[in-house]
Symmetry: C3
Subunit: 334 residues, 3 copies
Amino acid sequence: MTTLQATSPADAGDAIQCTPDGRLRHLLSLRSLPRELLFDILDRAERFLADTSEPAVRSTTLAGRTIANLFFEPSTRTRASFELAAKRLSADVLNLDVSTSSRIKGESILDTMYTLQAMQCDVFVVRDAAAGVPRMIAHAVRDGVAILNAGEASVSHPTQGLLDLLTIRRARPDLESLKVCIVGDIAHSRVARSAAEALTIAGISELRLVAPKALQPEASAFPGATLHSDLASGVAEADVVMALRIQRERIDDAGDIPDPSDYARRFGLSAANLAPASPNVLVMHPGPMNRGIEIDDATADSARSLITEQVRNGVAVRMALLEMVTETHLGLRR
Amino acid sequence: MTTLQATSPADAGDAIQCTPDGRLRHLLSLRSLPRELLFDILDRAERFLADTSEPAVRSTTLAGRTIANLFFEPSTRTRASFELAAKRLSADVLNLDVSTSSRIKGESILDTMYTLQAMQCDVFVVRDAAAGVPRMIAHAVRDGVAILNAGEASVSHPTQGLLDLLTIRRARPDLESLKVCIVGDIAHSRVARSAAEALTIAGISELRLVAPKALQPEASAFPGATLHSDLASGVAEADVVMALRIQRERIDDAGDIPDPSDYARRFGLSAANLAPASPNVLVMHPGPMNRGIEIDDATADSARSLITEQVRNGVAVRMALLEMVTETHLGLRR
Amino acid sequence: MTTLQATSPADAGDAIQCTPDGRLRHLLSLRSLPRELLFDILDRAERFLADTSEPAVRSTTLAGRTIANLFFEPSTRTRASFELAAKRLSADVLNLDVSTSSRIKGESILDTMYTLQAMQCDVFVVRDAAAGVPRMIAHAVRDGVAILNAGEASVSHPTQGLLDLLTIRRARPDLESLKVCIVGDIAHSRVARSAAEALTIAGISELRLVAPKALQPEASAFPGATLHSDLASGVAEADVVMALRIQRERIDDAGDIPDPSDYARRFGLSAANLAPASPNVLVMHPGPMNRGIEIDDATADSARSLITEQVRNGVAVRMALLEMVTETHLGLRR
């Protein structure tokens, strides 16, 4: 077990992400998000959660607004979640699968964005395989236009971090007493980074990271977390265990890709492997799941699984964010 | 000419498809659909048919609902028809071309469906190249969520069967006196199977199937129909003749793919080949047509052609189904 | 410098494009569009232009109508512009990326269109790589259905020509005194052809075309324009200079593709190359830009650049056209 140390100070505020009076202008990263604003987002999201026996909650607050889904990396789930969030607020949605259109005949990302800005899109939901793209776009757009980061390289996936925190808070409001363990390819996971940021700001008791040696992160990436190379020590008395997907597409050295059955035995979530955890342990997975590898069927489908709750909360978090940034920019326009 | 015998009893009721009080919960197959319910669907569809000189009929009965088009096999026409049906009922539509996204990074079909269910999609329109998928999904969804089969392997395509029956009924309300002939690759055709099921339940006088030897179906698939290997005997005195598309992609043995000009001469719909039919014979084709093979231009574009009527009625049938299953599940939710 | 002569008379009226009383029925080409109608379209478009600090202008005039984007050639920008135009008029939009679906299993273009017409689509927005397709479709549709040409081979791109003219008129209402210069691959450019047609009808003072020898057009294509093979003579005292994109995909002979750095030096828009122009010269580009080739960064992003205005005006022009053809067909239906 190693305790990771921060090697650089956390961003001291983030002038591009928040207005001087603390309102959310763009969502680029959770790292420097004020604790109060983080909880404001979750509280707003709660309003959009209906009972599953009811139809989805709808509102007309974004009627007449245009949300552009600008995905430079393929996505089905996250794109669908943002699309439904926008439609349930009555916005118009423009889907641009830029991954398949070879970056619009060689155009630069910024020119694509300037073009869509000229078409009066109000919010850009951006996913890109390169680090820094959402922030670069946020610096370039005019007042009145908001950027939401929908996945950025291995760096961050802030809406996922928010939905993970919301899911945990709804199940265990005693956040400050929780031991949370994240298991898997931590080195390449933007999901792990954003979850860790959200959980750290929320003030959980302990964050543990479990990964095979080849997939362990750099020490600086997870300040305050403890790093484990065996599952048993990581999940010991844990209240929440979150499995990550093995992302072969991001592992450069093929020799580092774990053997699936060996991985399942050593790191897969199963009743046996979770035995050292709290008897009430909750399990999570960002999806899509490789069943039988990161998690077995019995665990994924058990009463302790929050996996479908995560998906449901994702739409609500995205509705909250779309509404909040639109309100902020309405103020900026005046 | 051979008369095909049923080798297994028809499904005795279909508890997953209908509620105990006989309302439509999912549409998986026409085979066991009660006759009264079949006609209820057609009657409901008639309400959505406007004169072609009028704009499309619209309603707000599905406002706030989400329809997910989940196409694991590519489709343009059927997907467009369902999309327009949903939009004209004011529903939100989510198109998921899962055929091009490699099944969402290896996720199982059921996990994809559980994910969309968690996003509060209300109806799944499902097309898959494997038999049994729509029924498998219908067994897995929770009350409040409906499945509509939009094409299942070579097994069934029930919305096509309904629109074919509706098209025939509007042109010839005297269903019980009709001789109907289906010509083409019967062996691989889900369109033929669903049309046969609809026509059989509706009680037509005679159903004939015409196919080259290599493309004839198993005896059990079309109970009560007669099988012909020459067109002349199949169309003799027929009131309606429906041509099928040659589907090279489903014929395993390349030697079984008919030579186009030979096929056109022996099985193609043309004035000469239709001479033995009733003088008022009507012709149909599910589209997309290979003109000059299954049907010649003069016949496709003649006054006896119901081909564009089929397309038009398809939207109306899908509007009716979307409305009916939503009403049923509204009842189940309470 | 050569003055190009018309070798054929301009189309004497265009009975398919306009009704006998001069209303716009389809938009196929600008060539024969009456001057008054051309300006009516621009005037109508002006109504849809809001200040960029305001949300996009919306109306409900197309509620209940269906706009089908039928793109047989890939497009992201033009498709997005039409999609937003339609949605901001409250129409339903059906996107059919026929370029990726192998022309709907071998179906002819006309059968695809008849199918969508039967589904009660009201307007078809058509892009095709073959000349004559929009006009062929316009001849085939029934009254009540309108065609808008969204790009036709190297022949025409009339909505682009209209937005270019609108952009120039808003910046320089003194159209009749203007010298306009178009620079680039004139031979293969539908943008150049439609811009030239719009500018000619609008009655500008002078139209100059600048292209490397290998990319110069046939003499008949640009009646009244002057042709230059060096930039300096083309831009001399020009009020507006429009750069075109080098379209490698349309140049048959690879030897004709200019070397990028040589092209930039000789034909690229830059402060140095624009020195002979009017001191108030305005620059345009239809996008997507190859920065550093057709135009340098400083020029593209300068105060003299109208490039984002072009994009913004494009949505307004398309809203105007959608509204006008729908009104015309409403009249035809009665």
